[in-house]
Symmetry: C2
Amino acid sequence: MKELKSSVQKTFALLEYFTIQKPIWGVTELAEAIGSNKSTVYRFLADLCRLGVLYKDPVTEKYGLGLKLFELGGRVQLKSAFVDKTHPELIKVAVRITETVHIAVLKNHQVFYVDKVESPQGLKISSHIGSFNPAYATALGKTLLAFLPEEIKMQTIHTIMDLKKPIAFTQNTILNKTTLLKELAQIKAMGYGIDREEFEQGLICVAIPVFNQNNEVVASLSASGPANRFEEKKVADYVATLKKGANAIQHKIGFFKPW
Amino acid sequence: MKELKSSVQKTFALLEYFTIQKPIWGVTELAEAIGSNKSTVYRFLADLCRLGVLYKDPVTEKYGLGLKLFELGGRVQLKSAFVDKTHPELIKVAVRITETVHIAVLKNHQVFYVDKVESPQGLKISSHIGSFNPAYATALGKTLLAFLPEEIKMQTIHTIMDLKKPIAFTQNTILNKTTLLKELAQIKAMGYGIDREEFEQGLICVAIPVFNQNNEVVASLSASGPANRFEEKKVADYVATLKKGANAIQHKIGFFKPW
DNA sequence: AACGTTATTTCGTATTATGAAACAAAGATA
DNA sequence: TATCTTTGTTTCATAATACGAAATAACGTT
């Protein structure tokens, strides 16, 4: 690899090619995609296989992500101390609400999708666990921002709205800082946030904050559905159910805090 | 690090120190545990943090496993193409059976625990997702072995019983190859396997095979509970419920095969 | 049988990693 | 408040690993 990069960086850069959409690669194919010599890539692949980080199909000679990553992923505290505990509560909420339920945390001024439970009757939502979305344009994000401690909130909003130049996703996306601050104040007052097609056309999302037992906001919990199915009365019902879920979650996670 | 090892190996060796039991390390503490210079370890930690593989708590200056591993773990096909689909079925089984339900695959001649759902009424089982256990001494393992294609089965049993010298976990552990082969024949005939305190004192486990839509055995599904609660009648009921679960799983996983 | 493609190995050279030492920062102690 | 101790962070000469061109092996296609 003709770049000034540590081997650690190269290793994880290589692992990035193994996606949900394309989970399987051959040596030459991957070398071409990376722009590296195939003997270099071959050695990385061989090393990673020995460690169980990748596996090699003996028949096709193609490589895929291995059990070691599955196991390491399970040791991340977000998984072992949070998702494993909250997942059953998401299921209960999804059963009652019959829409897709998500839980997310704030990371790098964005929402990071941590888990979701789809309802058979619910709309298929394109969100992807393990991915980021803009905090300012999602119910999950706005709700997380709204309940942050005041100083952290102002710093974060400054970063998002002034330094990082927000973009519009739909006509409804809030791009003005003052407008966003008013919106967050309203979310704080009402105890829940709504994304009215601000991030995705045709999609409405209702979110409420999730606190730990130190009363720190650690996540947000939401229900998403098509715009034509969200009536005012339903919103109140959803909020009530989400709050029950959030209370149960608070009991289960103790003082857990995703840094 | 004074060893002849690639940086890839060193990287994953370092990540191994971040366990469920001890998820958080400081620079010097980790360097001492590894037996490496703290400036070397510091650079690895810094690199891994920039990649999101680790995170650093800004207050305590300690390190923990980061979101990137959570996300990579979610991209492993065993997770995205299997666990995500089978988990709801495990829940349904656990609700009916009111014991702990596990699903495992065969890897390196051992059972690899992939998922589990505990029942509130169930005994707390010490199994750990992402860990291995001996195939010859567990219901999950014996059942997987029993339903393997004949040639692969004989090879695998040769490896386990002749080359790897099995050890006893309890007085009931099967150590004789001929005895094990008879046991597997019986499991094949009955369609389910039982571990009668062969792996853990006081614990009985019933497992059935899970097939994909190519009729290849890809996993096994089990219910575990204390020995004093397992009566003959209950076994038949459990097997029936587990079979329903396995059928539902077969429908959901298509031709998926954990390599 | 010949050809094309991909996987795998070799070895001289290029690049990265190491660790001792020094410095910075912060908490503990007198 | 000053001093000491411990941990985190940085520097740089040296040691070790990584690289890639070329060759070989393996396998599928024609």
